[in-house]
Symmetry: C2
Subunit: 298 residues, 2 copies
Amino acid sequence: MSKGIEIYLDKKRTIVDKALEKFMPQPSGLASEMITSMNYSLFAGGKRLRPILCIAGAEAVGGCADNVLPVACALELIHTYSLIHDDLPAMDNDDFRRGKPTNHKVFGEAVAILAGDGLLTLAFNLMARHGTEGGSREGVLMRVIDLISHAAGYKGMVGGQTADIAYEGKEPDPAVVHYIHRHKTGALIAASVTSGAILAGCNEEQERSINRYGQQVGLAFQIADDVLNIEGDSSVMGKDIGSDKARGKMTYPSVFGITDSKRAQEELVDSAIDSLTGFDKKADPLRNIARYIIKRKA
Amino acid sequence: MSKGIEIYLDKKRTIVDKALEKFMPQPSGLASEMITSMNYSLFAGGKRLRPILCIAGAEAVGGCADNVLPVACALELIHTYSLIHDDLPAMDNDDFRRGKPTNHKVFGEAVAILAGDGLLTLAFNLMARHGTEGGSREGVLMRVIDLISHAAGYKGMVGGQTADIAYEGKEPDPAVVHYIHRHKTGALIAASVTSGAILAGCNEEQERSINRYGQQVGLAFQIADDVLNIEGDSSVMGKDIGSDKARGKMTYPSVFGITDSKRAQEELVDSAIDSLTGFDKKADPLRNIARYIIKRKA
């Protein structure tokens, strides 16, 4: 693994974290505990993969972070809300996330539900209020809000999470695990990189290629997550290992076995990189992120 | 109470219901139960007050329902999501809503949480995808999405709900109940009528007046709700009476007494109507809705 990509990711993570700090409110007023709760999960050490993919998508077509930061941050808010809600006792009932107690363990279920709702709503506020500040036209931003809300909603992430829970403990089924992974994780990851490219003014052909890259990387990322849940080091990951199996989650390894899962993620990364054939070296970060995604330890 | 307003409300409710049916998905795919769950609460017999206020706000400045329907429907989706989440065991733990079992009673907590998330996300998708179809410019729609997401979020509805729960069983405090009512209910109602006027092309002075109307009507509406929770007929309302008191909710009557609460709602309605002094008879529906809001039985 080249050091270059890790330096790149660190640099972009710093940019994203600074922007998130600027956009997020300080606790105040009678709802201050919920604001504290939003910030607790948002600043709990996330990888910022979705915002970084959004920036790298912009860079691949000649743009830069400044074109897309409000939308990039909104993607992280949406991702964080989904983690808070997924961890709830009624859902996955997880006690730890990124090495820290989950949101509802610290703030209680009511505040955790509201903090998730608050983050999701704030994501759209951020996009509507600040989304054109990087130079995008309003019509372009509107398309991006459409794309992201579609990917995050019942046809995307929320749909995938529903199936993830509905099919716990059921017979392994390739079609089901595909559905879950493409919707629960793939959709928002694909929307992240694609929205970056759109905001930076890509043409239709570029958009299609980048979207294909995003779909493949998103699926590879979730398979890698499944594999880490079996073979990972819980002290590095900050969460329990083996929880998918204990819970009867339908995962790639549970359906296809660990060897075929690893082969699938390699093939997906190759395909993702192939999708970028028409792009010059400005797309190298996207290529390197694809490789990184299946090599990571957490 | 004049029959005119009831005929008006019926007519607009029919228009809103038809549009909602057009916009809402049919259950299909692996997440179909969550889609069924979204539709269950959305079509459980709501008054459609927020969409109707959005339409009446447009009419007051010379517009019509066709200018605002996607946004009007989005407001109802946001309202419905908030009811589903508010009813959860971790929140208000309500078993009945509009005479029917609450969402989590039918679909379980996990699906109810996800259905709420799905409705909130779909609301923004609806606005971004269809919001300009009524003739509004993209920049105008963007301002409306900003306004609505602000009113629905941590500085508005979600903030108010947080305080509502945090202050259960606490000493009556006028400042607290004001905060709760203005945020939990007032903010989205004000945003509903204001966004209708903005989409229909109002000027700044009209926007300020209509927004003031909305703030006052929103507060009056919540006080009337509090009063109905004491004096209402549970068979007409479809939910239990006396639940606020049993739960130690901070309400207008619990802080100011029932007589002063009724006086306050009358005064707020008078002020709301005064806010419309500069408007001609096209604002009569808004005036009549203000009066209706404190006379209703459910």
